[in-house]
């Protein structure tokens, strides 16, 4: 094996797992002294074109409390046809189908390269995917038109047997019946009244026919899903109908007087959507897609009143405890989110408005159910249109990049316990021997439900080493973790993906070097960041920053090389060298800083941070900056104000934004029109290069980033200036004085100052 770097990368590619520590400290005490917890980022459905699923069911350990899946780490006695579970050491008989097993005739799951393997379960009725559109009609005419077009377009992207439903809302909520000929029929609900699931089902007439349906069930179990709801119909059947219906969709007709917001019953609409699916298709893959163009203004879940003179809550209001609808609304949406999660459905929110739309209150709907959250300025922007289209993109097999109703189960060998998970999941409250008392994130369980998944959905899973100091693990001992993800594939198949990994134990006292070398600072940064963001949801911002700082200082104290009280002597090894910088940028990131961000924006950023994979998360923490110039090929440059030079074009990717920034001179050239002169074709190429690269990023990214093309002195340049390390500010501009660069008008500390402080604190014996 080569370097740890390669090892980590290889593991990530194969298993979709990145651990903060790749060699594990063997005792609880030592592990806590490592500061960064033992944790991993797991991408359960990481795309594996090289991994065809096997068409049989996994073999499970027979111990009822274990039920681990047979894996390459298990000891197998081919002669006796026995295998020993590597988690509980139970000896198990192979099932009859494995009679022909031998060293040379191994099933896939025993081969080392299949540490991750996917099974297809043939049992059980397959239910089609369900897409329930929940559409706001309180939009401007052109916005609504654009949305209608997008929705109509999406119909052509859906699998033909998928069931679709349509709910529209404004002042009222309309549930459209899709199967009727001649007359379009819809059920209308008052937007101000919260209804229980039962009431909703009664009112939609769903509860009654259930009786004969159940009787008919034994005869035709397969037909059940197709007939049981008038509101959800196979797209192939009602394609035309629905297209027409969407075409005829009008703006909410109720008059909006001047000085008022339109009445928008988002809370009830969502409640009805949830209730509808709950009553008709519990525990099958379903997506509720909410398209909204403004904040909920009435009924349960209202975020702001309809008086325009009272603006929607800001962070300032929230801090002052002045957001009077927030708590109630949040409670409403949390209740809905929990119900949705219990039914295995997921909720997407596509919010396009210039002002806030209440994502802060509604965030749990997406966060708990694994749905998408998209925020844009208008439905009439490519940001929305392309993002929406990307939902329905297909993978190399021609399958949708979405999975539903997943449960993730984690099993650990006995030296480890599960502390919790952070990601788009909810706890299933499965207590077990491997569940830790100490919670990190969503804990107290060994199973989580992830209602909506895509190949990049990533969870942070945190562990606790429980092995006592006085019970050393023999040399070469390995700890093992198994991730079992059961889910409904977009082809409606039920699948189980099993990933089993093992890592070496090391005694932290004698083998600290080993452990140190196996530190994955990128994963650690993301995992710590997730913890920080998780805390930020419930704690005051400064507390979280202080906690992060303390962790960083402790880590530096533990792993830095320095002489006491001598900051200049402070050194960090390669495997830690970037970590403080990540933390510096994390502190400045919108995930922890709410200044200049609306509550909605914060929610939006945090939502994505909690579900993207490592690479994307790192970009979010520390944006990438490329520089284009005549001096050489494009190169990544420091995210620093000193990188902003007059003769450069900069391309910054913050995940949420792509900024192309033309330096002062370049911008002047462009204004002078040099790019149009044949003799300056190279200038034209230079201008074009970042655009092409940006396009490449735009193509791949979900959600589509905000694309900003700006130049020196442009108002949009603020996106760049707010991200770069303010090494030159109005305070120190002339002290640095040499090369130029762009001064940033801020009082924020620069990375250099930050590092100086860090070194000082790390070497100090005071803390």
């Amino acid at each position: 094996m080569a370097t740890y770097l390669e090892f980590i990368q290889q593991n990530e590619e194969r298993d979709g797992v990145r651990f903060s520590w790749n060699v594990w400290p063997s005792s609880r005490l030592e592990a806590t002294r490592m500061v960064v917890p033992l944790a991993c980022l797991l991408t359960p459905l990481k795309e594996r074109p090289d991994l065809p699923p096997v068409q049989y069911e996994p073999v499970l350990c027979s111990r009822p409390t274990c039920k681990a899946v047979l894996n390459p780490l298990c000891q197998v006695d081919y002669r006796a046809k026995l295998w020993a579970c590597n988690f509980c050491f139970q000896r198990n008989q192979f099932p009859p189908a494995y009679a022909g097993i031998s060293e040379v005739n191994q099933p896939a799951e025993l081969m080392p390269q299949f540490s991750t393997i996917e099974y297809v379960i043939q049992r059980g009725a397959q239910s089609p995917l369900i897409f329930l559109y929940v559409v706001d009609t309180c939009l401007e005419e052109d916005d609504l038109q654009a949305l209608k077009e997008s929705l109509q377009m999406s119909l052509s992207l859906l699998p033909p047997d998928a069931l679709v439903g349509l709910i529209t809302f404004g002042r009222m909520v309309q549930v459209h019946e899709l199967s009727c000929e001649g007359i379009s029929k819809s059920y209308v609900f008052r937007g101000t009244k919260d209804l229980t699931a039962k009431q909703i089902q009664d009112m939609l007439g769903l509860s009654k026919p259930a009786m004969p349906m159940q009787q008919a069930r034994p005869a035709q179990p397969q037909e059940h899903p197709f007939v049981s709801s008038r509101f959800l119909q196979p797209i192939q059947k009602i394609d035309m109908n629905l297209t027409d219906l969407l075409g005829e969709l009008q703006r909410d007709p109720w008059p909006v007087t001047q000085g008022k917001r339109p009445l928008r019953s988002t809370g009830v609409a969502l409640s009805i959507a949830v209730g509808l699916l709950e009553g008709t298709f519990p525990n099958t893959g379903a997506r509720i897609m909410l398209f909204t163009g403004g904040p909920p203004t009435q009924g349960p879940g209202m975020v702001v009143g309809d008086e325009l003179k009272i603006p929607i809550r800001s962070w300032h209001d929230i801090e002052k405890d002045n957001a009077r609808f927030m708590k109630k609304a949040t409670k409403h949406y949390e209740m809905l989110a929990n119900r949705t999660a219990a039914n295995g459905h997921c909720i997407d929110i596509y919010a396009c408005a210039l002002d806030q739309t209440g994502l802060l209150e509604m965030k749990c709907c997406t966060n708990l159910t694994g749905g998408h959250m998209v925020m844009g300025d208008s439905f009439n922007t490519s940001l929305f249109k392309q993002t929406f289209q990307r939902i329905f993109s297909k993978d190399f097999n021609g399958d949708f990049r979405m999975a539903f109703g997943a449960t993730l189960e984690v099993k650990t060998s006995r030296e480890l316990k599960i502390a919790g998970a952070i990601g788009p999941c909810v706890s299933l409250n499965m207590k077990g021997p491997c569940v830790s008392e100490n919670e990190l994130g969503v804990g107290g369980t060994s199973q989580w439900k992830i209602c909506g998944l895509d190949p990049t959905s990533t969870l942070g899973i945190y562990f606790e080493v429980v092995n006592q100091h006085n019970a050393p693990i023999p040399q070469g001992g390995r700890g093992a973790i198994q991730f079992v993800t059961q889910y409904q594939h977009s082809s409606t198949q039920k699948r189980i993906r099993v990933t089993t990994i093992a890592r070496n134990w090391a005694d932290a006292q004698s083998q600290l070097r080993h452990i140190e070398a196996a530190f994955d600072q990128e994963a650690a940064a993301v995992l710590m960041a997730r913890l920080g963001v998780f805390r930020a949801e419930s704690e005051e911002g400064p507390d979280v920053l202080r906690w992060l700082d303390r962790q960083l200082i402790r880590l530096c104290q533990k792993f830095g090389q320095y002489n006491k009280e001598d900051p200049t002597s402070f050194r960090l090894s390669d495997s830690f060298s970037l970590y403080p910088q990540f933390m510096f940028h994390l502190r400045r990131s919108p995930f922890l800083q709410v200044f200049n961000n609306s509550p909605d924006e914060s929610s939006y950023y945090r939502h994505h941070f909690a579900r993207q994979d490592l690479t994307q998360s790192l970009i979010m923490i520390q944006p990438i900056l490329y520089s284009y110039s005549f001096h050489g090929p494009p190169e990544p440059v420091l995210l620093d104000s000193s990188s902003i030079l007059a003769d450069r074009i900069l391309l910054m990717d913050t995940f949420f934004q792509i900024v192309i920034y033309l330096g002062e001179t370049i911008a002047q050239w462009q204004k002078a029109g040099y790019q149009d002169m044949p003799e300056y074709e190279n200038f034209k190429h230079l201008l074009q290069a970042p655009l092409d690269d940006a396009q490449e990023i735009l193509q791949a990214r979900f959600p589509m980033p905000r694309y900003i093309n700006t130049e020196h002195g442009g108002s949009q340049a603020r996106f760049l200036l707010s991200k770069v390390n303010p090494s030159q500010t109005h305070n120190n501009l002339y002290a640095w004085g040499q090369e130029t660069g762009a001064p940033i008008l801020t009082d924020d500390v620069s990375l250099q100052v930050f590092m100086d402080h860090l070194k000082k604190l790390a070497v100090s014996s005071a803390c």
Partner: protein, 971 residues
């Protein structure tokens, strides 16, 4: 019993009160020294012949039993002498008819073993000590024997003219009784005659009264210029010339002469009430009220009492000011309204201005008279159709939808408007409501289901209420699809209150007034506000709890109605019940919003289509005023205190009507609160503020001046029994809500007895207590009152359902005088008696089985029902030409349509049926009843002079009873 009536148009004798002396009083031997043989009562024939003689129709009226010859002069003599005998003085005033009632000590004399329990013992008592006198006997004998020779007073000088058409003042009242002493001296042996049943012909006949009035007053137009004139009866067709007082088509009063003091009024017990029909339809010959526009300042009103300018306002100071005729306040005349006065103190422009010269006119209202100070939008009609299983199964929904397609072209429009301004909307419902978007831009209608019936709301705004012409294609498509959509429904439960709520909310959202047409089939038992349970319990009848059957089950509907009224949302309800639907509760909202209820029990398309569609067409097409407020102002001294009808009142003076059509009537009762002045009389001004079909806000004003009197006789002379009955029926029908039915009946009888007793005591010449003397204007009061008492509400038969009673109760509440008249005393028309060529309606006959001949065919109508009764021995030719079957036995009993045959009789009968139907506000379904058939029971129920199966007294028995009551009061 012997009851005599003087109904002769021009009787030969002059007394206003022809008295038929109670000959057999003498027979009862109350007086010492006189012993009359029991047979002597036969002499009572005396009055009978006299009576008969006065009857114009000898043939049909004379029953075989009463064979006494008519001896007019004798009778006259008798009467005269009788007065003399009792020394009746000059107190006698007013035209009146006296009726003497006599009885044998036992009940037998009636010869009818079926004599009702009610009347029998009651009648007996008063006769216990019958005053007998030899003179009387002698008198009778004399009458019998020598009537012709008896000296008759000169007819010319007598005030009998007061019976006549003119009803002018009768100066000669006192004079016609000179012969008292002579009478006493007239000797004669009692004439023994066999005991006989009381002759029904001898009692006042409604038919006669109607005929007389028709003959006497039908030809001349009724000119309203004179204060306190009694108009012709409602049964008379006459023209009205408005010369300053409102036409009787708009206002009728119980009396046109009001007692000056409340003491007098109390004494008389005659209710002072006006029956007002503010939007009454007029015959084409009469002009509808002129519209007056007083410009931006609005109609000119009295500053203090707010009365509107009217012909009675007195202009003074050369026209610069006017004195209010209601409150006497002196107001300035605005400069723009100033006009000089002529030498009589009248404005010179009086005849150019309707408000100065006419009794009825309209003002254009200004924005101050509008809700929220905004001119109203045109009203809307919302059709709300029950589509539950029952409605679908009977074919109702299909029929209705089909009809609506064409009916929508006939929405009421104003004046010469090209198209109606009214917008329409559609809702269907069962357990949930379906609203329809029928916006003209849609390719097909959109249905919106609201299942949240607990908290009803309107799901759409734009496209719900539409102009028919603009959205015609979509509406047609909708009406085509509704029957299809619900064809397979299994839903049997319905809601009701939420439906009304929805309609009301829709109007509220559209900011307009309007009308809901509800088509409903069953008891609303689905879980929703206003849910009802079946509480029909026949055991409650005749108990103290009977009133609960008329009361609404829940207060929810009152609350709802109140909201509807506030919005100007009128509700018309069409019911198609198969069983109990609790009309009492369901009709609350229509009742309080000025709407109508139509009920079609056991609706079947084949049988009831015609009736339903005809009612529907009429109901949709009729002109309605919306969001109306009516206020009745009076001159000082009297005050409107009570109101009856279909409306809502939130205070004690304003009658609020969400909708008001030309059929709806409000009865208003007045009480004194001060002394009235004979000089100035009493004034009524009824002002109705409403929104017309085109959305114009208007005020309709009706003025009426009444006389005031210090003599009770004037009151009795200027009464109108039909109006009185209208008031009393409404009063009683409201009473059943709060009191046991029995006590309501008793109250009615007592009041009636008091009225008549008061007359007897104060106005009639003193006579034997055994004589029943009725005021001329009220001689039909007993028969009509009996009809009210026997009506389904107050005395239900076994076949009358609780729903029927509640239905009738609420119908009567807003009936006008003509409707109550025919409703309580149905018209019975013989069909083959009059020559076949005559185009006029045949003269009616009295509603009694005795009057039916088994060789004839009769039509009976009461405004709601229409029967064709076929006698068993009717000529075959007639059967053939009417029914197209050869014999009586082949006529289908219960037939509801006569075959269309091309012969004069068939044409005439069908024509007559059509014309009867045209006269009534509701379509009367025809039922052919054969004599001796089981359906005949149904028919007989309407022969109101007969004893009814449910225990109602016959006319004769009731009259006896009445007499007894009066006597009790007098003694």
């Amino acid at each position: 019993m012997n009851v005599n009536q003087s109904a002769a148009p021009v009787p030969p004798f002059g007394q206003p009160q022809p008295i038929y002396p109670g000959y057999h009083q003498s027979n009862y031997g109350g007086q010492p020294g006189t012993t009359a043989p029991p047979t002597s009562y036969g002499a009572y024939n005396g009055p009978v012949p006299g009576y008969q003689q006065t009857l114009p129709q000898g043939v049909s009226r004379a029953p075989p039993s009463s064979g006494a010859p008519p001896v007019s002069t004798a009778q006259a003599t008798c009467g005269q002498t009788a007065y003399g005998q009792f020394g009746q003085g000059d107190v006698q005033n007013g035209p009146s008819s006296t009726v003497q009632m006599q009885r044998l000590p036992g009940s037998q004399p009636f010869g009818s073993p079926l004599a009702p329990v009610v009347s029998q013992p009651a009648v007996l008592q008063p006769y216990g000590p019958p005053p007998t006198s030899a003179q009387v006997t002698a008198q009778l004998a004399g009458m019998q024997i020598s009537g012709a020779m008896a000296p008759a007073p000169p007819p010319s000088g007598l005030g009998y003219g007061s019976f006549g058409p003119t009803r002018g003042p009768q100066p000669n009242y006192g004079s016609p009784y000179p012969g008292a002493p002579t009478f006493g001296s007239q000797p004669g042996p009692p004439q023994p005659l066999p005991p006989k049943r009381l002759d029904p012909d001898a009692i006042p006949s409604p038919i006669q009264v109607i005929e007389d009035d028709r003959n006497n007053r039908g030809s001349e137009p009724f000119v309203t210029g004179v204060r306190g004139q009694v108009p012709p009866l409602v049964t008379t067709s006459f023209l009205v010339k408005d010369q300053g007082n409102a036409s009787p088509r708009y206002i009728r009063c119980t009396s046109y002469n009001i007692p000056c003091t409340s003491d007098m009024a109390k004494q008389a017990q005659v209710p002072l009430a006006a029956v007002i029909k503010p939007l009454a339809r007029l015959p084409p010959e009469e002009a509808s009220p002129y519209v007056v526009d007083h410009g931006e300042s609005g109609p000119l009103r009295c500053n203090r009492c707010k009365a509107y300018m009217c012909p009675f306002m007195q202009f003074i100071e050369g026209g610069r000011r006017f004195q209010c005729c209601f409150c006497s306040c002196i107001n300035d005349v605005p400069p723009q309204y100033f006009q000089h006065l002529d030498h009589t103190g009248k404005r010179v422009d009086a005849y150019d201005r309707p408000e100065l010269s006419l009794g009825s006119y309209e003002f254009l209202a200004t924005v101050d008279y509008c809700k929220n100070n905004k001119f109203p939008s045109p009203p809307a009609f919302i059709f709300m159709i029950d589509v539950s299983y029952n409605a679908i199964r009977t074919g109702l929904v299909r029929l209705l939808c089909e009809e609506l397609k064409s009916l929508l072209d006939y929405l009421p429009r104003e004046g010469g408007a090209e198209e109606s301004a009214i917008r329409v909307g559609f809702v269907t419902y069962n357990k949930v409501l379906h609203f329809y978007n029928v916006k003209s831009s849609l390719a097909q209608p959109q249905m919106m289901v609201v299942s949240d019936v607990a908290d009803m709301f309107v799901p759409l705004l734009d496209g719900f209420l539409v102009n028919v012409n603009e959205s015609r294609a979509v509406i047609t498509s909708l009406l085509d699809q509704i029957p299809e959509m619900f064809a397979d429904t299994r839903e049997t439960e319905t809601v009701f209150a939420p439906v009304i709520q929805a309609g009301m909310e829709a109007l509220k959202a559209a900011e307009c007034a309007g009308k809901l047409f509800l088509f409903h089939t069953s008891l609303p038992i689905a879980e929703a506000p206003g849910k009802l349970k079946n509480r029909d319990d026949r055991k409650l009848i005749n108990t103290d709890k009977e009133k609960t059957l008329f009361q609404p089950q829940t207060g929810a509907y009152q609350t709802l109605a109140k909201e509807c009224v506030a919005q100007g949302c009128c509700v018309d309800l069409f019911l198609f019940p198969n069983q109990y639907v609790d009309v009492a509760t369901l009709s609350v909202v229509p009742q309080l919003t000025g709407g109508s209820v139509y009920k079609y029990a056991c609706f079947q398309v084949e049988n009831d289509q015609e009736r339903f569609l005809s009612d529907l067409r009429r109901d949709v097409q009729k002109v309605v005023g919306f969001d109306a407020v009516m206020r009745v102002r009076t001159s000082t001294g009297i005050r409107a205190v009570d109101f009856f009808g279909a409306f809502y009142m939130s205070n004690t003076t304003d009658v609020e009507l969400a909708g008001l059509d030309g059929d709806k009537t409000v009865t208003v009762e007045f009480k004194h609160d001060d002394r009235l002045n004979e000089e100035s009389g009493a004034l009524l001004q009824c002002a109705l503020l409403y929104t017309s079909c085109a959305g114009q806000r208007r005020l309709r004003i009706h003025n009426l001046a009444l006389n005031c009197c210090t003599l009770l006789a004037d009151l009795y002379r200027n009464c109108e029994t039909d109006t009185l009955i209208n008031y009393m029926a409404k009063f009683a029908y409201r009473g059943v809500l709060n009191s046991p039915v029995k006590s309501v009946r008793d109250t009615l009888i007592t009041q009636c007895a008091q009225i008549l007793a008061c007359y007897r005591k104060n106005c009639a010449s003193p006579s034997s207590a055994g004589q029943l003397i009725l005021p001329e204007c009220m001689k039909l009061l007993p028969v009509y009152l009996n009809c009210v008492l026997k009506s389904d509400v107050l005395q239900p038969g076994a076949e009358v359902t609780t729903d029927d009673r509640a239905y009738v109760r609420q119908l009567v509440t807003s009936m006008d005088v003509a409707e109550t008249n025919v409703f309580f005393y149905p018209r019975l028309l013989p069909l083959t008696k009059s020559p076949i060529e005559s185009t006029t309606e045949p003269p009616a006959i009295r509603a009694s089985e005795e009057r039916l001949s088994n060789g004839d065919i009769y039509l009976l109508e009461n405004g709601l029902n229409l029967f064709l009764w076929v006698g068993a021995s009717v000529q075959q030719g007639v059967v053939q030409s009417l029914f197209n079957v050869p014999s009586f036995s082949q006529i289908t009993s219960g037939l509801s349509v006569l075959p269309v045959l091309d012969n004069p009789l068939s044409k005439k009968v069908r024509g007559l049926i059509d014309s009867l139907r045209a006269q009534r506000s509701r379509y009367m379904k025809l039922i052919v009843v054969k004599q001796e058939d089981k359906l005949e029971m149904l028919f007989k129920h309407f022969l109101v002079e007969d004893k009814s199966l449910s225990g109602g007294a016959s006319y004769v028995d009731f009259l006896c009873h009445m007499h007894k009551e009066i006597r009790q009061l007098l003694s």
